[in-house]
């Protein structure tokens, strides 16, 4: 649906040439929710803005729905943009217009006659759950409500693609959840392809089918969200995963721990407890699960346990090797 080919974007600044995006190629499929994560300044927004040519790539190509966006005249580009919705961290509603007028503006921009606008706007406000706020001004709304209005505006002209630039970063966790739920509903109900930019891995975990990790303008790792969570390879990816999957063990616990401490990770299709009990029967070690949780990456469970193992060092080593064969990931945190 969205094809980015060798896109680079340089900025001329007083300090010289700054690279925003560096030779990025991506293929985002129809109907998926695609996440792009990275720290601030990684080039995420610039890349996203290249997808609707708010930023014209210095080099490279951009196709949306098989249309080469860089070949379009400015009028054609305006028409193409009507089928590419975009929402922002700062909402960017027109403060002098009511909620209704804000949404209606998108229809007006697309040349929808006035008589047809009203029903469509009300339908959109119904979809985002703000029908009763139609005549309010943005200043009267909460952050979550403002983002809902901006979603309604972005969806007004039935876009094929929705670009989200840190759409939930200004919102509290509860509101973030509800906005993500709305995005998911939109994706499922209308089959709209969604691209989400965020610095929060939690957002990716929640709704993205696939994701890419960006650093210094480049995409350093890409894959299905589950694979990225289960088998991250780049250090930065691991750091991002940690923010969701890690849990702090109390220092006291680590101090008092006499055995070998390890972290086990099970993929959804492995029955974690069974593997551990098999191991305990095969080797003369004893195991004690200190902590465990199951994270759902999308729909698929990923289990993580912290286990303390005691016994002869040689037996422990054998047991660890046995487990390593059978679990998705095993990391010895602390030896006895």
């Amino acid at each position: 649906m969205i094809t980015i080919e060798n896109v680079s974007k340089m900025f001329k600044t007083k300090a010289g040439l700054v690279t925003g995006v560096d030779e990025v190629s991506l293929d985002i499929r129809k109907g998926e929710i695609y996440g792009i994560v990275g720290y601030s300044g990684a080039g995420k927004s610039t890349l996203l803005r290249c997808m609707n040519i708010l930023e014209r790539p210095t080099t490279g190509k951009v196709w949306i729905d098989n249309v080469d966006l860089l070949s379009l005249s400015s009028k054609e580009l305006r028409e193409a943009r009507q089928s590419i919705g975009m929402i922002f961290q700062g909402f960017y509603l027109v403060s002098s217009k009511t909620v209704f007028e804000n949404v209606a503006f998108a229809l007006k921009a697309a040349g929808v006659p006035k008589s047809k606008r009203k029903n469509r706007v009300l339908e959109l406000l119904e979809l985002v759950g703000l029908r009763e706020k139609a005549n309010d001004y943005p200043a009267q709304l909460s952050g979550g409500q403002k983002q809902r209005v901006s979603i309604a505006r972005a969806l007004a002209n039935n876009p094929k693609v929705l670009l989200c630039d840190e759409a939930t970063s200004a919102l509290d966790p509860g509101t973030t959840k509800s906005i993500l739920k709305l995005l998911k509903k939109i994706n499922q109900q209308f089959g709209i392809t969604i691209v989400i930019i965020t610095h929060e891995m939690e957002v990716v975990k929640e709704i993205c089918n696939r994701c890419a990790v960006m650093q210094e303008g480049r995409v350093i790792e890409e894959g299905s969200t589950y694979e990225i969570f289960a088998n991250p390879t780049e250090p930065l990816t691991k750091a991002f995963i940690q923010t969701v999957l890690s849990f702090e063990l109390p220092a006291k616990l680590l101090e008092n721990c006499t055995g070998t401490l390890m972290r086990l990770q099970f993929r959804g299709d492995i029955a974690g407890e069974a593997v551990v009990s098999d191991m305990l029967q095969t080797f003369s070690v004893s195991g004690n699960i200190l902590h465990g949780k199951v994270e759902y990456i999308g729909e698929t469970p990923l289990g993580i346990f912290i286990m303390e193992m005691t016994g002869e060092r040689s037996e422990v080593d054998k047991a660890v090797a046995y487990l390593k064969e059978r679990v998705n990931q095993l990391e010895v945190i602390q030896h006895a």
Partner: protein, 220 residues
Amino acid sequence: MLDRIIELLPELNTAFLETMLMVGISLLVAVLIGLPMGILLYVTDKGLFLENKFVKLVVGIIVNLIRSIPFIILLVFLIPFTKLLTNTTIGPLAASVSLSVAAIPFYARIVESAAREIDKGVIEAAVAVGASPWMIIKDIIFPEAKPGLISGLTITAISLIGYSAMAGTVGGGGIGDLAIRYGYYRYDDTVMFTTVIVLIVLVQFVQYLGDFIAKAVNKR
């Protein structure tokens, strides 16, 4: 003193109407030409949807050029132009020419800075939705900048009241003219005093009205 004022009333009335005429005409011209010029300065700025270095530079230079000339000199400088346009160099209509020329760049800069107050993201969201430049100007920039445009018009009107008094001294008529003719050349304190009061009341009224309207249209 009261007798003197009553005696003066017809002349004061004429002077007041002349001032209103001069300010009114130049304010109208400021809106008709200065407003589009200010919008042009804004939308051709770097990073905006009609970015154009050349236009921005040329319009910017013209605006600065006129603004850097003191009004009293502009008044004299524009005499041939005034003559060409109105066939005379005296009277409120003639004075309106130089007042208008001064008002255009004055208001244009105010419009530009009022538009700059709009969050760039709001403009960008409109670009992203596929709106045409004209639609963005008409439906986003105007309504969003409206309070600033109105308070800018207030500032322009008040400056023009001041300038019109200056224009009066070279035969433009109006309250300034009255003050100079009686108050300055004939040492008539009553006239001087009365015209000052009239000017103060006028300025206060314009300011109050401007603030009131600006507040009424502000939805933020």
